[in-house]
Symmetry: D2
Subunit: 157 residues, 4 copies
């Protein structure tokens, strides 16, 4: 997938490597285009929760969506990094089909001086039929440079 946002890509790749349970789940970066982060959770036997049905363990999907909503910040806000999670909600619409990757896509929908609100979906074949919705808020952490840049900017709402 050739795309140009290479600096954001580098940061995401670095973060995915730094967080060990992302490594364990083998979460992959797909895209950082258009202010949205897309990740992939490849199907594997090690994440199966129910051996009889082959359905993925719920915790793996939770981790995928939590990661996707938390990692989208540096894509949208240059110089901003993900701080502590303040709250997280995931609603599962339907079960994931066994044998297929699950993708997640996230974006930021509100930024204040100290809090970032992001939302995301998980899907398999069709992004228009999400298997889960996620909404999360995080403390905003900035480098000094970016903080002075955004100071005085009114919050979007």
């Amino acid at each position: 997938m050739p795309h140009s946002n290479t600096k954001a890509d580098e940061i995401i790749q670095y973060m995915l490597k730094a967080v060990r349970h992302c490594q364990v789940l083998n979460i992959q970066l797909i895209s950082t285009d258009n202010g949205m982060l897309t990740l992939e959770l490849p199907y594997s036997n090690s994440i199966v929760g129910n051996p009889d049905t082959g359905v993925i363990h719920g915790g793996a999907l939770t981790t995928l969506m939590d990661t996707c909503c938390g990692f989208v910040m540096p894509i949208c806000q240059e110089g901003s990094f993900f701080g502590p999670t303040l709250d997280l909600r995931i609603d599962y619409m339907t079960a994931a089909q066994p044998g297929k990757s699950v993708f997640s896509r996230s974006e930021i929908y509100r930024v204040t001086d100290n809090v970032i609100f992001s939302k995301g979906i998980a899907y398999q074949d069709d992004i228009a039929k999400p298997i889960a919705h996620c909404v999360a808020t995080f403390m905003r952490m900035d480098t000094d440079a970016s903080k002075s840049k955004t100071k005085g900017t009114p919050d979007e709402h």
Copy 2:
């Protein structure tokens, strides 16, 4: 910690071993007493999200609470097992202190024929000052034996 509920203990130990990201996070069983499940997430450098402050990565806490709320079922409902997560919400009250274990305690507050509602907290020194609250619902999976046993029982509400 000597306690008698050994069958529930065995099931939880088995599930913790079966879920690989619980192994990676080194999540430990503390207790299955009084219908409540208590787990421990030991502090370690591998789960630090911010090297400057030593604060644990939010995803590790999310996984701890998701696991604790999802695993409590067999303790309360003999013959019932955790099915797919239907929804999950976590609210962080305060940041976890670096260098210390985080504990989570969960219990079930409502059971219907097909859905189980559980809630939990995460804490460090003082269980009365939780660092996070969690509420989750799961599909209920039963062995045939337990299904027939509970059939006809009115839902608690």
Copy 3:
């Protein structure tokens, strides 16, 4: 807007009249087509929360979405009625514009023997740009007739 689902319409109209704070907010039925319930909250000075900006009080939007998610049941499940709310989550994406109606649309995405899961959005000009998302679960109440009809049907998930 002429549409044929007149029995569902009658039930919704009856429920809107029976719930007094729906009357106070002047919530109107727009449509019960395609298994979805669409309601309207007309703009009026009596629901303005901030007189300086003319922005609607948040509680009015919460009531609109709570009502819309709770009332959709009889449209989708003949003989089923809305029972007690089990949980409710609303996420506001952006502020409502003053001087315009707010619409809400809800549908059911999962039904078990005892629990109904519904979700909805609120919007003004463009349904593709919702001002809020809502997810809610309710206890399912059935007439005896419908209960026997659905008995044995596997839960959708």
Copy 4:
């Protein structure tokens, strides 16, 4: 109930009168002590959702908790007022008993420059056995005076 925080009381009384669906539900101020707001929803036939059981309509409880979490701000942050709701979650633990008032108590657990996080419970006889939990976030609105006073103060987290 004699208590001293009369200025906060006056503000809450004013807000309860200004919001018409609080008037319709007859929501009463009980206390603004210790940084917590306690409100009462008196039982009456007009808020019964199910005439057969006498159980209160879920929407009335939702409005009570939404109001309680949204109105607590001026008690804790002098010069701060409640802005638009950003998100709201309510989890019902058990059904309210008919014929009795429902009380709600709320407090603020996190304040940033622009966002206020509050949480609350609803209860009847025993505050230790809540019938519902609520968590909500709101945009923070300040008078100029209070804004300059808190400027530079690090966010609590």
